[in-house]
Amino acid sequence: MRQWLRRLRYARRARRAEADLAEEIAFQRDMLQQEYESRGLSPADAAAAARRTLGSVSLAREEARDVWLPIWLQDIAQDLRVAGRQLTKDLRFTLAVVIALGLGLAVNNTIFTLINTALYRALPFDRADRLVKLGTRDTRGRDGRDGGVSYLDYQDWRAAATTFSGIAASTNVTMNISEEGRPPERLRGAFVSANAFGVLRATPVLGRDFLPEDDRPGAAAVVIIGHDVWQNRYGSDAGLIGRTIRVDSGPATIIGVMPAGFGYPVTMQIWQPLVRAPHIIGTKRDARTLEAFGRLADAADLPHAHAELEAIASRLAQTYPGTNTGIGARVTLMSEAYTAGGRQAKPMLMALMGAVGFVLLIAYANVANLLLARSLHRSREMAVAFDAREIAAPADAHRPFWIDTSMNLPVYLFLGALCLVSSVAFGLLPALHLSKANMQDVLKDAGGRSSGGSRRARRATSVLLVVELALTMMLLAGAGVVTRSFVALYRANYVIDTTNVLVLRLSLPEQKYQTPQQRAQFLAALDERLGAMPSAAAVSATLASGVPFDWSGTPPRRVIIEGRAAATPQPNGVAPPMVSYVSTGSRYFETVGLRLLRGRAFTPDDGAPGPESVIVDQQFVTSFFPDRDPLGARVQLTMPKADGTPVTDVVARHRFAARLFSTWFGSFALIALAIACVGVYALTAHSVAQRTHEIGVRLALGAYARGIVWLFVRRMLPHLLIGLALGLAGALAVGNMLQAFLVDTSPRDPAAIGSVTAVLIVVSTAACLLPARRAARLDPVIALRDE
C-alpha cells in the first residue's frame, strides 16, 4: 500500500525524477572521469573509460523507471497516448463516433432511470417493503370492485387485527387556511388518523406528530403543515409552532411541520386529525371513503395479513349483514399500489428501452464497422465522458412526492454494465469479423479496391442501416403525432381567448354547509351576485365545477342514451362510453366566449330536481346522434362505481406520466434522428474513403462530379426507402399505444407523419451528400495514388 503511494508520487513527478536521475548519473560520470584523470589518463581517454565503466545510461534510466512503474502500466499509458493521437488525427470522425455513442448511452441511461423509478424504486419510507394498502372488495358485483374503508369498519379492523404494527386511515380534502394579515389559501390536504405518520415512520422536522388525544371527538383542533407551506407562506418561521390559524371555518393550532418532499398520500400540503373530517363520526358503515394503510408486524407476511383481514371482514359481514354482506378485504403492498401507474406505462417504457437499446447497438455496429478500416481504439473512454452530461430529471409541481428520478445505485450499475458490454463488443466485433474473414477475400479486397469491405460485412451494414432508419422513422412518427397533439391543445386554448379570463377557486367547508340544499343556496346566492356585478369590474362571471381543459374536478360519467342500443351496456362486457362533463352556472358560455350552435343556454331553473338538462358539444352529437336531432333527446349520466384509487391520485399520476412522456418522447426521437444521421454520414464517409482510388479512376476517365455524388446517393437511397416503409408500417401498427397521450389528434395523423417522413428524407440525404460531394471534389491525381 505504502509502496503504491510512493509509486503514485513518483508518477506524478516522473519528469522531475528522471531529471534527478540524469543529473546523478552525470555527476557520477564526472567523478569517475576525474578519478581516471588523476591516475594520468588524458581527458578524452578518461571520459571514454568513465563511460565504459558505467555502462549504458539509457538502459540504467529505463530500468530505474521500471522499478517504479510496472511495465503493464507503462504499456497502457503508451496505448492511451497512441489512441489519443489517432483520435485527434481525424477530429470530425472522432466527433461523429463520440456523439453517436454518447447520445446512445445517455438515452439508454435516461430511459433506464425512468424505468427504475417507475417500476422498481422503493418508496421513500423506512422499511417501505412492510407497508401495505388496505381496502375492501365488493364480491357481490360482477367484477368485484375495489373500494375504500368506512370509518366504522376501519376502527373494527384496527381493534381486531394482530398482523399489523399499525393501521392508519386518510381521506383527501381541499382545505382553506386563513389568518389576519395574509390572504386565504386553498391547500391540498388530508385528514389522517393520529398514527398515520408513525406507521409511515415519518416525523415532523418541527414541532410534534399527532397524538391519539388529538384524534378524539372534542379534542382541540390541531394541524400539521407541509414544508412548502412553512417555507412559502410563513417564511420558514421557526416560532410558528403553537400559532393558531383558521382552517376552513374554525381555528386550529399548528403543531408540526413535515419534512421537505413529504406529501403523503400524493402532494398534500396540510394534515388534520381524522376525527375532524366531516361526517366521519356517526357515519354509515357502508360509506367506504377512507383510504387505509398499515405496516406489517414483524412476524407477519402478506398472506397472513390478508387471511386475517378476510376473517375480520367476514365476521363483520355476519354482525352487520345489511351493510357488509359480500364485503371482503384487500391487502396490497404499498409499493405495488403506487407503482401501478408505472406498470401501466411499462409496455411503453419497455418499447422505448428496446428502441434506444437498438439504436445504441447500431451506433456500435457503425463504429465497429469503421474500426475495421481504421484502428480507432478506445473512443469509448470519450463516449463515457460525454455521457457524464446527464439528462436532468425535470422538476415538476405535479410530480407526486414518491417519484424520485435522481440516479441511484442500480442506475450507476446499469450504466457501468452498459459501458463494459459496449467496450467488449467494440473490441470483439471487429476481431471476430477479421478472424472469420477468408484470407483470399481479404487479398481480393486489397486488389480490387472498389469493394467496400467484404460482402458479408456490407450486407450486415445494410441491414443495420435499414433497421436504424426504420426505428428512427417510428420514433419520429410518434414525436410528430405528440407534437401535433400539443398544437391541437394550444389551438383549443386559443378558441377560448384566455387573456382576460380570471379563474377563482372556491371550496365550501363541509362543516358549515352540510346539506346539498345549503350548498345550493350559497351557490345560487353567489351566482346572483356575480350576475349583478358592475360591467366595469367584469363583463361576465359564472360558476363552474371545472375550468376548460382541466376536468380534474369532476370525474367522467358513463353515458346511456335512451332508445339507443349502441350506447347502452353490451352483453359482451363492453362498458358504456365515458364522457367528461362540467357543471356550470348560467352565463358560462358567455363568460368563456363560446357561442351556442343550437338550442338554449342554462337558466337558473335548470338543474333543480325535475327539469334537469344538459348541453353537449359537437363531438358528442357526432358520436351519439349521427342520424338524429339531439335536442330534446334524453340521456342518463351515471357515476361509475367508485374504484379504490382516490381521484386526486389518478389525476396526479396521469398528468405526470403524460407530461413526462410528451416531452421526453420528442427528445428521444430527435436523438434517434441524430444518431441515424451520424450513421448515414459515417457509412458514406467510410465508403468514400474506401473507394478513393476508384473515384480517382472514374474522375481521370472523365466522370462528372454529379455522377460521383450519385454513386453514393444511389447506394443509400434503397436503404432509406426500405427503412421508411418499414418504419411507417411499424408506426401505424403501434400507433394505438400513443392514443392515451393525445388530445384531438389521431395516432396516424397524416400531416404529422408526412412531415416527419420529409424531415427524415431530407436530413439523411444531407448526411449522405456531405461526404459524397467531398468525394466528387477530389483531385484525381491524388486519389489515384491512394491505396
Partner: protein, 112 residues
C-alpha cells in the same frame, strides 16, 4: 550491461544488501557507494549504472533508504542516500539470510 560490470555475477539481491551495508557507514552519493564497493572488494566488484541506479530506486521504493540533494566534497550538487530505520532492519534480516545461505553453500561444497 556495462562491459566491466560485476565480473563475478552477484547473487540476486546481494547488491541491495551491499548498498545498505555501505550506507551504514553514513550517507553517500551514487559515486561514493560505487567507489566504496570497489575499494572494499579490492576491485572485484565494479558496479555499473544499469545495476546501481535501479537498485537504489528499489531501495527508495521500499522505503529502506531516503535521498536528499546535498553538496559533494568538490562542491557539486549530489544526491545523498541515507539508510532508514526500516533499511537497518532489512539489512539485519538480509544479512542473516545471506550468512545462512553462504554457510549452506559451504556445507554443500565441502561435503564428501
Amino acid at each position: 550491461m556495462g562491459i566491466t560490470n560485476q565480473p563475478p555475477d552477484l547473487l540476486p539481491g546481494t547488491l541491495d544488501l551491499l548498498i545498505l551495508r555501505t550506507l551504514m557507514r553514513g550517507p553517500a552519493h551514487g559515486y561514493g557507494i560505487a567507489l566504496h564497493l570497489r575499494t572494499a572488494s579490492q576491485d572485484v566488484l565494479q558496479v555499473g549504472e544499469s545495476s546501481l541506479y535501479p537498485a537504489l530506486q528499489r531501495l527508495l521504493l521500499n522505503g529502506w533508504v531516503k535521498a536528499e540533494w546535498g553538496l559533494s566534497e568538490n562542491n557539486r550538487r549530489a544526491r545523498y542516500y541515507e539508510i532508514t530505520a526500516a533499511g537497518r532492519k532489512q539489512l539485519a534480516a538480509e544479512r542473516r539470510e545471506f550468512d545462512q545461505l553462504i554457510a549452506a553453500i559451504h556445507k554443500v561444497l565441502n561435503a564428501t
